[in-house]
Symmetry: D2
Subunit: 275 residues, 4 copies
């Protein structure tokens, strides 16, 4: 069982929390705790064995914590996700495969594409695909359609698996810290479009990818994880894009694993990741 | 202030420990805890701010723990080390440089060589160099000489920085879990001599290095850290050795940092490393 | 157009080859050449633009080379492969996905499993799946069945994507240097079965995977590529296996790319890889 | 013997070059060739054994190449370098150590500091240290002093080993493509000052370092090599800087090796690196 806690820091928090657990006979298998001293914020992830007893640990723990505390006990045995895509298949097919073999740590509820290109692969895996074109409609209407499809699935997270539309602040706010994006670059380098073209021109020797939560600042949300791969002068634009895609797939997969295992806390546009 | 604890596990340990700290008004800045369930062993590393009060926290904590508990509070502000070498300079000069600029996290007391080759570089940095040749004497006598030189320095650790003599079980036992070695290979591959020759013949694409505590099983002690670097078909034996040395230097440096910051626990021929 | 050449070395080879190309007006876009001096072996990979003319460059080049020369010009625009599997899905589904989107650099002709577990995923992608159980039959008969299925497909390579049966020298010889295996370890460490169990016991900090051609010495064939990932004390056996699978998938994918792009030469149980 | 060639591309270049070598009985041990098709530029690095005969290969090769060709044969058996520093010791002491043990591939002629902090370590290694303060003088005068000290040493390269002054276009032009800098960031991210502070604020999970030739655009010269290391939320500013220094030292060391072994070609603000 996993218990995650985020609150204002004060002396005695760990003692208070673990006393609750000890009284209920839970044994702590593994615990990570971190305090951000500048912000006076306390973060903890506690794995306990399942042989303790307590009808409502969540409430018992919350009672000993500051009023702002967010406590989640085993927060959703398996997350529900909706995946948004455009045309590129690499991240989506990795997600669909893991979902198929039940190793994703989440259940894919549906895939939404603003192009029809990935309908076929999605339906191969018997997952519903919704086509929501962005053409000939306002962003407001486009996002209203997205929302109408998404909401009934009650997803814990939206995964932007190479979804190439910029979402409005309103949309983002309505799914606050629930949207995960894979950015085709090692942020903060090459923000924006055509990163591989920029990388080629600059002659870089490494390219990266960044998985992050989406906030209103485009490409500026809290970073979950980053990976790089080496490249060299002989890489054409196509080679760079190909290498970049391998890296994007691996980076998004890692980020999803961290988030779905409740290892990621967000505060102040940064993350605490108990890897 | 760093507090490290290792003992038999039981329910309530973290609560007990942190209650002691809370009562004395220490705030926990960062805490890592791990329980090895198979062995029922508890490990913790707690960083607290220094504004609490308590004359003897070590004893206060020990009192609430099982009888086998080992508790160290801020265990030695700076470690003392003795470095043993043979002829290769790369690890030693890295150690001497960091020591010179006080970024090693330990104080080099002296260097002992079984060859005179590294006397010069050692003395450049105003560190005593002791030549203890292994020639024309029994291992027993050789090690007795080593011990006579080492003991007065009261070192916390002996660093084998490419020391090419095999130490006897008696010697190792007398410095139990205090000897750190850098092995010129990615253990357990290529155990023993001529690892680069073996690697060349095998056509490997990666070579590694392993830093580990020395126990009686040659090259089989608890691993502290491992690193690898890529190699390819064009590497000659000399190129492999050169690349290997870069990697050995970095691997030993990392291992020493982890050990000197009290991030490494040993049990059962394995380590718990709170990186 | 890619030209690959392997032969005994002698003075003037590059001049002879490139003169043939120059006379036919081919421009060399990129060239890698390597001579193994110990074995006196010459290897070259030449990429030329396609605007030259020459009906039979292969013969023209061969004529200026030593009699043992193997010259392949644009050797098969796309390779044909047969994939052998047992129960684990991770490598196979990566291959099927890339094949589906035509980014594998090869065409999957069929999948053969000695268990039925992966029939479903294979057929999702409209690829034939052949079940060839190894039970209740001699290895000879088992392999005869395999061969009967494989041969009509005329594959360039057999990919052992977690195929857990040991193949006989006879079978291997009949597909000499055409069988690629992914080994669940950083060879030569942990040869044989249960590598993750061994790795756990040994407390390693890195685990690896090795893609190699299969020869008669089990797990001892020429290494194509190797990758590693970091692990730590908190990894259970299941975590190690999970991390290992990510690594195996990436390692096999990389090896296939290198082989299918004709970047890998084999001699003397080693490879020359022009990455 | 190493031969490096850079010129306009045309059909038949490799044939022409290698014919010259073949006639003189040189055997090619290893050859790397690359053509940048957009710029129509030809680059080659040829390693030949030393048993051929030819009084002036350089001229013989130049005669068969386009008029713009730059040909260097075994270009300087060992490079001469001058190292410029400010206060940070990590890159300099690595250079001094390698120089001391003759594994740098270059000879350090002297060290110039605009602060006296590194005089001591430099002189420990019996290398001349020149203090050239930038205070109370114009940039013009400061650089004139630098130049007066540098020129008599006739260095092949100037190494900016954490030299924290911005050099004028005039100074840079007078040492065109001879100045190598280590930038404390993964360019193009975090250009300019305080990269670690920026990195901390942004919550990055990886930090990098870039070694590059210095041109007039600050931090924008041709990249030689880049390396990264993982960091996490628990890193303070000091931890980031410490980790960054390890990475800077390794990155600059790698760049120097590549340049000193004549593996790096520059064109168009990019490099071709035959690693």
């Amino acid at each position: 069982m996993v218990i995650i806690i985020q609150c204002r820091d004060r002396v005695g928090l760990v003692a208070a929390i673990t006393s609750v657990l000890a009284k209920a006979d839970f044994n702590i298998v593994s615990m990570r705790e971190y305090v951000d001293l500048e912000e006076n914020k306390f973060f903890a992830r506690i794995v306990v064995d399942d042989i303790g007893y307590l009808q409502n640990i969540e409430m018992a723990i919350t009672k000993v914590l500051p009023p702002d505390a967010v406590v989640k006990v085993n927060p959703l045995p398996e997350k529900k996700i909706v995946v948004l895509v455009t045309k590129e298949y690499h991240c989506l097919s990795d997600i669909l495969t893991r979902n198929h073999f039940k190793t994703l740590g989440a259940n894919v509820q549906c895939v939404i594409g603003n192009h029809p290109d990935l309908k076929n692969i999605t339906e191969l895996f018997s997952i519903p695909f919704h086509l929501v074109s962005h053409e000939n409609k306002s962003k407001e209407n486009f996002e209203a359609e997205l929302t109408n499809i998404i909401l009934p699935y009650k997803p814990d997270y939206l995964i932007l698996a190479k979804f190439m539309r910029i979402l409005s602040p309103e949309f983002i706010t309505s799914f606050k810290l629930k949207i995960i994006n894979i950015h085709h670059s090692f942020l903060p380098a090459f923000i924006g479009a055509y990163p591989y073209r920029q990388a080629l021109k600059r002659g870089v020797k490494i390219i990266g990818a960044t998985a992050h939560f989406v906030t209103n600042d485009l490409d500026e949300g809290p970073i979950i994880t980053q990976k790089v791969i080496p490249v060299n002068h002989s890489f054409t634009l196509i080679d760079l894009i190909k290498a970049g895609r391998e890296n994007e797939t691996a980076t998004l997969a890692k980020a999803m694993q961290l988030v779905f295992e409740d290892r990621v806390f967000v505060f102040n546009n940064k993350t605490v990741v108990f890897e």
